[in-house]
Every structure is written in structure tokens, then in C-alpha cells.
């Protein structure tokens, strides 16, 4: 029952998110708004209710499974991908690596610069 309550709550937040996004015509996807609203709720309550923790854990522990149906969609686009495989492969690979490297270095630099040495020492022990 706990798990069921948890998943119901997640769906309610998603539904409210979808409705608000459509009513206000904002360019943000419904589930993302639902996540923000749930985050605000948890921050106000000051704790995660057990059912929500359970449902969230169940969904997030196999997050990669949820991308499988979209990935299989590749079979529909074989022709397109074959026709433009070079720009797709190079842009995807280089851009992903550059994004990861740049974000990591910017985050590392700004953390040291803005948060200072106290933070860094804390991490050495963690």
C-alpha cells in the first residue's frame, strides 16, 4: 500500500504539472514542473514521507530501463541515420564529451573560487 500511495502522489504531481503547463502555456514540460513542485513541498515539510521515498527509489533504481523503448525507435530511423551518419556520430560524440568536460571544469573551478578552501578540505575527508 505504501508503494501505491507513493506512485499515486508522483502521478498527481505530474498531472498537476501537465495541467498548469497547458493552462499557462509555459514552454516547460509537465513532469519537470511536477518535480519542482514536489521538491518545494518536501522542502516545506522538512522530510520525505516513506511512501514517496519508496516509489521514487523503485523508479530511479532502474532509470535506464525507461529509455529502452525510445532507443528501440532507432529501427524506424535507420535510413536517416545511415544517410547522415557522419555528422550525427561526430556531433553527438564530440559535443557530449566537450559538454561533460567543460561542465566539470567550470564546476570545479567555480566551487574552488566561490566556495573556498573550507569546502575542499571537507571533500577530502568525504
Amino acid at each position: 500500500m505504501q508503494f501505491l500511495n507513493g506512485i499515486t502522489l508522483l502521478l498527481v504531481y505530474q498531472l498537476v504539472g501537465e495541467v498548469v503547463v497547458r493552462l499557462l502555456d509555459v514552454p516547460i514540460p509537465g513532469p519537470v514542473l511536477g518535480m519542482v513542485m514536489l521538491f518545494v513541498t518536501l522542502a516545506i515539510r522538512g522530510a520525505t514521507p516513506e511512501p514517496v521515498a519508496q516509489a521514487s527509489n523503485a523508479l530511479l533504481s532502474h532509470l535506464s530501463l525507461l529509455f529502452v523503448p525510445a532507443g528501440v525507435g532507432m529501427m524506424v530511423h535507420f535510413d536517416r541515420i545511415a544517410a547522415e551518419w557522419l555528422p550525427i556520430t561526430l556531433a553527438l560524440l564530440i559535443s557530449t564529451l566537450v559538454t561533460m568536460a567543460a561542465t566539470a571544469l567550470i564546476m570545479q573551478f567555480t566551487t574552488r573560487w566561490l566556495v573556498g578552501h573550507r569546502e575542499r578540505e571537507g571533500q577530502d575527508h568525504g
Partner: protein, 244 residues
């Protein structure tokens, strides 16, 4: 006679959502087991394994993607509640997030702009059509978000879904090696970079490295979905003017 009976069963099953759903779960189960057996080696990514297995089976049996998706949509649908569920690990990192909000905000915004900008520019440089450029632009955002953006800026949403998965796999497979090479050791930094570049698939990988890396990756994925939705349509217009 037996042949005939089997054909009847196949006709019945391929018309019902049961088969697509079960196939997805079985394929993932097998791919995940292989991944564990390979001691969680990122090269044996479970998404790659299950997608390859499923495409092989579907092609061998002449089943269309539409028929398969009848069943697989139940799994696909869970991306929505899973996105909402990211609020939980995010909230659990609240105190650390308070401390780091400024570096997180700066690196997130730069990461989102670099991800979209570089993929448009590179696809263009290597001769990709405009449709491909626009389908690639939101590739680092999580699937439902990226598909919505692709539709808005003139890409192909279903192709974007595939590119999103490929991007996630690239990040999950190469991420930890890249961070080691760059000597980035802090799990909150690694997590942010993984989540910005490789969304949910990268986050799944990050959770296997450490709960902290997972939470920061989930945070980055959620916030960059937000930022991508807001910034990318604008960035596309701006780049069109700049590159013209």
C-alpha cells in the same frame, strides 16, 4: 498442425500489448544481468544491450516498431513519474546544494548552452541537414523534454528520442574515464557534469558510482531539462542569425 497453432498464437500475441511489454522487461533483465556479470563495466551498458537485442528480435520476426510500442509505451510512460521522483534525491542533497548553489547554477547554464550550441555547430560543420541539427540540439535533455523542444524548433521528435538515448549512453560509457583523465574527483562535480550532458542514462550510471554522484546528476538532469526548455529555442534563433 503445430506450425499452424504457433502462427495463431503469434498473431494473437503480436496484436496485444503484452508481448512488447514483456519483451522489453526480459531484454532489460538479460542485459542487466550481463552488465552485473561484467562487474558493472560501463562498456556493457544495459540500455545498449537491451536495445540491440530487441531490434534484432523485432527485425527477425518482422514486427513493426508501432506494434512493439503498443506494449513498450507502459515502460516509456514511467519516464514522467520518474522525472517527478527526482525531487526526492534532490531534496536529500538540500544542505549541500545550499552551499554550492552558485557554482551549480553557473556550470549548469554554461553546460546547457555548450551542449546545444556545440551540437548544432558541429552537425552543421560536418554537413548535417537542418533537420538533423535541430534534432541534435536538445540531445542532452531527458527524453520527454528533448522531444518537446525538437518539435518546437523543427527537428524530428522520434529521431531526437533516439539521439537522446545515444547521447546518454555515450556519457554513461565514457564519463568516468573522462573525469579520471581530467583529474576531477569530487562526486558532486562529476555528478553535475554527468547529469547536464547525459541526463537519465548518465544518472543511472552515476547512482552506481555513489549516491552523492547520483543525486547531483539527478539534480543537474532536472534543472538542465528546465534550462534547455527555456534557453534552446532562443539559442537556435540566435545561432541562425550568427551563422548566417
Amino acid at each position: 498442425m503445430v506450425e499452424h497453432g504457433l502462427t495463431d498464437i503469434w498473431v494473437y500475441l503480436s496484436a496485444s500489448p503484452l508481448l512488447g511489454l514483456t519483451m522489453t522487461l526480459v531484454a532489460y533483465g538479460l542485459a542487466h544481468r550481463l552488465y552485473l556479470r561484467a562487474r558493472a563495466n560501463p562498456l556493457v551498458n544495459p540500455v545498449v544491450g537491451s536495445v540491440a537485442l530487441l531490434i534484432t528480435v523485432l527485425m527477425a520476426t518482422g514486427t513493426s516498431y508501432e506494434d512493439y510500442f503498443e506494449g513498450a509505451q507502459f515502460v516509456h510512460f514511467l519516464l514522467g513519474p520518474a522525472t517527478v521522483a527526482l525531487a526526492v534525491p534532490l531534496y536529500q542533497q538540500l544542505s549541500r546544494l545550499r552551499q554550492l548553489w552558485l557554482p551549480v547554477a553557473i556550470s549548469l547554464l554554461s553546460g546547457v548552452v555548450i551542449a546545444a550550441g556545440s551540437s548544432i555547430w558541429l552537425a552543421r560543420l560536418f554537413g548535417g541537414s537542418r533537420e538533423i541539427q535541430m534534432s541534435l540540439a536538445p540531445k542532452s535533455a531527458t527524453a520527454p523534454v528533448a522531444m518537446g523542444i525538437a518539435e518546437k524548433i523543427g527537428g524530428l521528435p522520434s529521431l531526437t528520442a533516439v539521439l537522446v538515448v545515444l547521447t546518454g549512453v555515450t556519457g554513461a560509457v565514457l564519463g568516468t574515464k573522462l573525469f579520471d583523465w581530467l583529474r576531477v574527483r569530487d562526486d558532486s562535480v562529476r555528478g553535475i557534469a554527468m547529469g547536464v550532458a547525459a541526463h537519465g542514462i548518465g544518472t543511472a550510471r552515476a547512482f552506481q558510482v555513489s549516491p552523492q554522484m547520483g543525486a547531483f546528476s539527478g539534480l543537474a538532469m532536472a534543472l538542465s531539462a528546465f534550462a534547455t526548455a527555456l534557453l534552446v529555442p532562443w539559442l537556435v534563433d540566435w545561432m541562425a542569425v550568427l551563422l548566417a
